[in-house]
Symmetry: C2
Subunit: 407 residues, 2 copies
């Protein structure tokens, strides 16, 4: 019999407790022994909960109960989650978490503490909700050198973009709809401005490349500035706009890592991932591209990933020492503007002849209702610095500038 | 230092040996110790191979060498692979295999032997080549009840269908092209007639539902009878034809399992999986649908899955007792014709009025060049028995009959 504590009884936390009860028999079959949730930590009262007798407001009760061997941290945020998790690991308890902010900011430190105290720190649920991605990357792709990771990592923004693309719904309306449907928070900044995707690409990149990638070093742009004109030009180019988090290993061990909206060819495997779904592409030297697709959020998808981590800890009964990465000083991320890419530009105030003279070869795009004097094009490959220099020579600020990615 | 033997030096076998040498450092980092291929078993001579000193033609040398703790069986076929693998497991050596025929026919027996002798029998490479699917199903989805598994499991037929759909290439030409490109064997029967996909769905279903599903109990149809007319009608209906292997858990514990070409809506996540790629959809009660996509075959994708299994065995240093399923008498698969589905039919010799009278509500399809007297339609939902009864009443044999699936 293994006794578990669940820190937090919000959406994911209540899902974890319910799932352990609902699929009890098959979970115990797979784990090889009985599992009981002994404590649920939450400062709030839940007078109608069937788990009444499990609630506690006292973290120390969990920390010092020798019967509890595995703890699920599903509170979110850095404080007090970080202090709690660190204390639990030092006390010799394994921890699983769905908290992407925690793993992105403190992963290297917590993994080192877990190793030092001979316990596990697992975080399958922190990326991609119910999509198995951390463990397949770590285990099944162990024979590969991973060169690149890219994905649609945030369901809220993908839902908004899908509405903009398929129904020509303006950004603000699509955001309101997402809020009404419960896909977006009342304060949607973390999703819309790309911070959520940034944390997730940091976790994936840290694991793929073995060195901590810190969120503040990753150039992050959201989708709030995208217009239906951009969507129409992407369509005429043969593609769609998606918010992509990506990281690539460079020769010499440095990496690029960034989050921004991008033009993707319609035939890209990531282009067809719509609504609240997530998709993650792993490029390995032996496997080629492998894509994982599914619901990236939601109560039960996320809870199932948390419970799978718990089962894995119970079943293996030993420490997974190889799930870890080195800490870094944050200087391991290359300047994103040095990367050579193609760029979509929407310009006005200059003629096509002027643009051609300075920008060189480019693919000019058209849309219905395109006003006189509006130019839209996709450039040849160049660094962002080279592009800025050319735009400076032309004397224009682009109305839109979106990077073009090849996936 | 762990010493490994590789049984077979064909495409996959040579890939395994090369990969262990090529990614030596990162593999050893992840495995936690050094790995050496001590033996390669093959009856052929490879005078130019750089691994000259490792070759042996004597299986017993491997079987009785106490230094060898892990063996990769990549010969294929049932004989002598089954006898070899059984002997190795009984000798206390863990075995990993890419041999789908072996796992589909003998999985329950070999897993039981592994358990009895406290070693592992892993087979990630037997389904989906380099796509991690066996381990994610087993581990990450452990908290889920899996209700259904479906996929494009054979790259050769998917390549042929892609050519038929995108380039209107007739089946025979597409098959010849696949042979020229090395995607199809000179004798393409196992691919084209669906046997390869059948073995793979048997493995996935056995794992998902915990009971052995034997290939001979699974209704299997190939793609050789498909015509460009069928492809055109599927297009006019809004979809594509894909060869789908699928299995579903029924109330009461029985399962449906089958392999056949099917109409899929164009927006299905499986519809966009083209060329030699494979895609596998797992439907779980908590996760919803999760899709895994990648190269389903090929030297290095498959070899990387074999090597990942080897690493996992070395790293865990303990037995994975929960990777197993019960044997069965083959009576656990439900009659496929009892399933209620929609059907695409191409008919001639009857009028639309006659068809409407007997078949009831249906969606009538049109194609360019459709001759007078050719009817194509998608029926409402009914069992195949009900359909046969109606066609009997109409007095017609359909020119084509293809099931319509909702994924």
């Amino acid at each position: 019999m293994v006794k578990v504590a669940v820190l937090g009884h919000g959406v994911v936390g209540s899902g974890v407790t319910e799932l352990i009860s609902k699929n009890k028999k098959s979970i115990e079959n797979r784990a090889g022994q009985e599992i009981e949730v002994k404590y649920i930590l939450d400062l709030r009262d839940f007078p109608d909960s069937p788990y009444q007798e499990k609630f506690t407001k006292d973290f120390d009760q969990i920390l010092h109960d020798p019967e509890v061997s595995v703890v699920a941290e599903v509170m979110g945020g850095l404080s007090p989650a970080f202090d709690y998790v660190m204390a639990l690991l030092k006390q010799g308890k394994s921890v699983v978490t769905s908290n992407k902010e925690l793993v992105a900011a403190k992963g290297a430190e917590l993994l080192a503490a877990a190793k030092a105290h001979n316990v596990n720190f697992f975080f399958e649920a922190s990326v991609g909700g119910g999509i198995p991605i951390i463990r397949p990357m770590h285990q099944c792709l162990a024979a590969n050198e991973i060169s690149e990771v890219a994905g649609i990592l945030n369901g809220t923004t993908n839902f908004i973009l899908t509405k903009m693309i398929e129904e020509q719904m303006p950004f603000d309306d699509a955001l309101h709809l997402a809020q009404e449907l419960g896909y977006a928070e009342r304060d949607p900044a973390a999703d819309v401005e790309g911070q959520d995707a940034c944390r997730k690409i940091c976790i994936l990149a840290s694991l793929a490349f073995g060195q901590h990638i810190y969120p503040h070093t990753v150039h992050t742009e959201g989708i709030a500035k995208l217009t239906l004109d951009d969507v129409a030009y992407a369509d005429s180019w043969g593609g769609v706009i998606k918010l992509i988090g990506r990281a690539k290993r460079l020769p010499g061990g440095r990496v690029t890592a960034s989050v921004y909206p991008a033009f993707l060819n319609r035939h890209s495997q990531l282009a067809g991932i719509n609504d609240v779904f997530n998709g993650i592409l792993i490029r390995g030297d032996a496997t080629g591209d492998v894509v994982f697709y599914g619901r990236g959020a939601g109560k039960f998808p996320t809870a199932s990933a948390v419970v799978a981590d718990i089962i894995d800890i119970i079943k293996s009964n030993c420490t997974c020492k190889s799930l870890s990465w080195k800490d870094s000083d944050g200087g391991n991320v290359e300047d994103y503007q040095a990367e050579v890419l193609r760029f979509y530009l929407k310009l006005s105030g200059i003629s096509r002849a002027q643009a051609e003279e300075v920008l060189g070869q480019a693919e000019y795009l058209a849309r219905a209702g395109q006003p006189d004097g509006e130019l839209a094009l996709v450039t040849d490959k160049m660094s962002e610095y080279a592009l800025m220099e050319k735009l400076g020579r032309l004397g224009v600020q682009p109305l839109s500038m979106i990077r073009v990615l090849d996936y």
